[in-house]
């Protein structure tokens, strides 16, 4: 009798359990995100700059495009998905067709932000208020501030004004008349 009772009880409970249902159902769906780096430097204009010294004023004072002269300007833009720096240096010295050289520090630059990212906020531009001479060493000329500098070409737009013979004049240098060329490298680096 006891065995039969136990058997019936077990059967009923088992049936009840089998019919019972979950009161909460769950599924898990994965969501993936792939961030591919975007890093682009465009030379909008002024890919080659030519300074021509024709008179003593040029030799005495240099060619100084302060105030803006598109002949001596390079316009660049940067599009970057991450913070970035822009480095600048000269590949070598100024070399003339005759093989003669002139000092590199005759060439100076000054950079102005023209996009919505500005010096002192999203960026740090050491040459924003004063000219800096070009060297062979790699120098960060635009420094992206952390968490600020990523953006497109309307945000990161710049003008580089070039100066020749202003601080270090050509007068009394006794350089032979020639056409001297230096390659300036601009390097965009993601942080």
């Amino acid at each position: 009798m006891k065995t039969l009772t136990t058997l019936i009880l077990a059967t009923v409970i088992s049936v009840g359990t089998a019919f019972s249902q979950p009161v909460k159902d769950k599924i898990i769906l994965p969501v993936g995100i792939t961030l591919n780096s975007v890093l682009r430097l465009d030379i909008v204009s002024g890919g080659a700059i030519e300074f021509v010294f024709n008179n003593l004023t040029d030799y005495n004072q240099g060619i100084n495009p302060t105030g803006g002269n598109t002949l001596y300007q390079t316009q660049i833009t940067v599009s970057s998905s991450t913070d970035w720096d822009l480095n600048l240096w000269s590949e070598g010295g100024f070399i003339g067709a005759s093989g003669k050289t002139i000092d590199l520090d005759h060439l100076e630059y000054q950079i102005t932000a023209t996009g919505s990212h500005t010096d002192g906020v999203e960026l740090t531009i050491p040459s924003s208020t004063n000219r800096i001479a070009v060297t062979n060493a790699t120098v960060p000329v635009i420094i992206g501030n952390d968490g600020q500098s990523a953006g497109d070409d309307t945000q990161n737009a710049f003008i580089i004004d070039w100066f020749a013979g202003v601080t270090n004049t050509f007068l009394a240098k006794n350089y032979p008349a020639d056409r001297y060329v230096a390659n300036i490298i601009l390097q965009l680096v993601a942080k």
Binding site: V23, D25, I27, I28, L29, V31, V38, S81
Partner: protein
Amino acid sequence: MYKLPPLVLFLILTFELFGQLTTSISVNYGFGTHFNFNTMQEYQNGITHTQYTQLNLTYKHDDGMGNPVGSNWQLTVTPVSVQINGNTGTQLNLSQIQITAETVGGATINQTLTNAPIVIAQGTQTVLEENITVNITYSCGIAGSLLGETADNYLVNLEFSLEQVP
């Protein structure tokens, strides 16, 4: 021996009186999604995958007599992790992802992911077995720009849960 039938009857009635709540979720299509950010436009404007996942919900709350209880149900989403984790230890905030749930014949709810469960669909049982179709739209980088974030592969698992409203 004569005591057995009443005992069995009692047990069966007990099961009936408690009634049954059955919920189930199945994926009709779109088992998860993936966002690829390749251009500045995508970084600035974000990416939306419209109605990328379709869920089928079944909600059956029986009063024990074969009648609907008329209880309220809800579909919630809970991220399994507190951040969106990258392969190299980098992380994105959960708030980078928004989910819009459109219940066919019902309301549309848009929610931004947080650590806590968020309700993306809800309703009241009107028939014994409710069958509800929900279209899920995923957005990423819309509310907050992903500009400045580290390039990496990120992943977060989302737990969708159908239950009676507590």
